[in-house]
């Protein structure tokens, strides 16, 4: 299972753009999307994001996977906003979120994580003088990207284990082992990184 971190090799301009430019573009687009008010602006952002995704060649499978991850939240949020503030606000809020998820998918589909790491490291290097460890920040980004599909994988395994014991309706049987396994996996990953010397100060 994978939701983000799914790089799709290609030769489009989006693939060739430096990772730093794409990260910066993503940041600017995120600020602009949130700052622009009104449902019409959100639909424009959505259309632009969808067009970029189509151009990137990410494909339907990757797009569906990305959207499936936020589908439940989006539906609940849309219903809540419509009830509380009316449909224009609902379209604006949910449209912004979906547009940003699509843009993030464009970034990860056209950029190797290694390139994102390098861009973050290079971008933060000047901050070393004030104590920022650029390599560690970049590693934190990589681990976050990796953690999402890995955690979903653990959730599926835990749910199947509960089902196998006839406990599919027990929230406790699903939640407690899931939390324990996530913490254990984080501990193991930390130990593995430690053992590989990743994150050691030079």
């Amino acid at each position: 299972m994978s939701m983000i971190g799914d790089y799709r090799p290609g030769a489009t301009l989006l693939h060739r753009l430096p990772a730093g430019v794409k990260l910066l573009g993503m940041l600017v687009a995120a600020v602009a999307t949130v700052a622009a008010r009104g449902w019409a602006a959100s639909l424009v952002a959505l259309a632009v994001a969808a067009a970029l995704l189509a151009w990137s060649g990410a494909g339907l499978r990757v797009t569906v996977k990305a959207l499936r991850g936020i589908a439940l939240v989006a539906v609940l949020l849309f219903a809540w906003q419509t009830w509380q503030h009316g449909w224009p606000r609902a379209v604006e809020t949910v449209g912004d979120i979906v547009a940003l998820v699509l843009l993030a998918t464009v970034l990860t589909a056209t950029t190797r994580v290694q390139d994102i790491l390098d861009a973050i490291t290079a971008g933060l290097r000047p901050l070393r003088r004030v104590g920022v460890d650029a390599d560690r920040v970049a590693l934190a980004f990589a681990l976050t990207i990796r953690a999402i599909p890995a955690t979903l994988e653990l959730a599926v395994e835990t749910r199947q284990a509960a089902q196998a014991r006839g406990l599919e309706r027990s929230l406790r049987a699903r939640l407690v082992p899931f939390v324990i396994r996530v913490v254990a996996r984080a501990h193991e990953t930390g130990a593995a990184l430690h053992a590989r010397g990743v994150g050691d100060q030079d």
Partner: protein, 228 residues
């Protein structure tokens, strides 16, 4: 390179005090391939983890090439690589090539050099055709091989492998076992595979936090079989 343990103990805090999981142990490991065998929970992994600084001695002293992991952890980790039973926790990057490249970030600052070095490592271990594959899509054997490649990429002098074949089928267990025993590096191998252990130069039988037998691997394995 010497690996020395001097009266080393390991204790862990529990609800009603401390639990002694490794009794005072003194050892010098000089052989190229050393196996640690024994029942589950005996203290084998703790003993192995001492060599890389993943576990620290509660008393006594560990010295790896004269370096103490408790105080010179970074230097020790550059000399001693470590692989775990479950490779899933070790593979932190999305693709095979990127995961190996992660190990090389310290030694290769230039990205193109790092990518070339990563590809070289993958070729060495027969994984080059999987370079762009997601680590999620790998078989158990391929994952363990990649985890090994990620550690060996840093060219450690000693590799400590904690039950590297336990989760593998027979074919992959043989493949990984043969690879480990054929490495130019020194090897400390924690294993339940007694055939593999018997192929090492020396074996230690660990039971209940103590080294209860130590000697030529075949002799120790025979003793373990006879007393279990």
């Amino acid at each position: 390179m010497s690996v020395l343990l001097e009266e080393v103990t390991v204790r862990v805090p529990v609800a009603d005090g401390d639990l002694l999981i490794l009794e005072p142990t003194s050892l010098e490991l000089t052989e190229r391939r050393v196996a640690l065998v024994g029942p589950n929970g005996a203290g084998k992994s703790t003993l192995a983890r001492l060599l890389n600084g993943l576990a620290l001695a509660s008393s006594g002293r560990v010295l790896v090439d004269g370096l103490d992991p408790a105080h010179q952890g970074r230097e020790v980790r550059r000399k001693v690589g470590f692989t775990f039973t479950d490779p899933a926790a070790q593979l932190v990057m999305p693709t095979v090539a990127e995961d190996v490249a992660l190990s090389l970030r310290r030694t290769h600052r230039n990205r193109s050099e790092r990518e070339a070095a990563a590809l070289g490592v993958l070729t060495r271990y027969g994984l080059e055709h999987l370079a762009e594959r997601s680590v999620h899509g790998l078989s158990g054997g391929q994952r363990q091989l990649l985890a090994l490649a990620g550690v060996l990429a840093t060219e450690p002098d000693i590799l400590v492998a904690d039950e590297p074949t336990t989760l593998l089928d027979l074919r992959n267990a043989r493949m990984i076992g043969d690879l480990l025993l054929g490495l130019p590096q020194r090897l400390v191998l924690v294993t339940h595979d007694l055939e593999l252990a018997a192929r090492c130069d020396r074996a230690l039988l660990v039971d209940d936090g103590r080294v209860v037998a130590d000697g030529p691997a075949q002799d120790v394995v025979d003793h373990y079989r006879a007393t279990t």
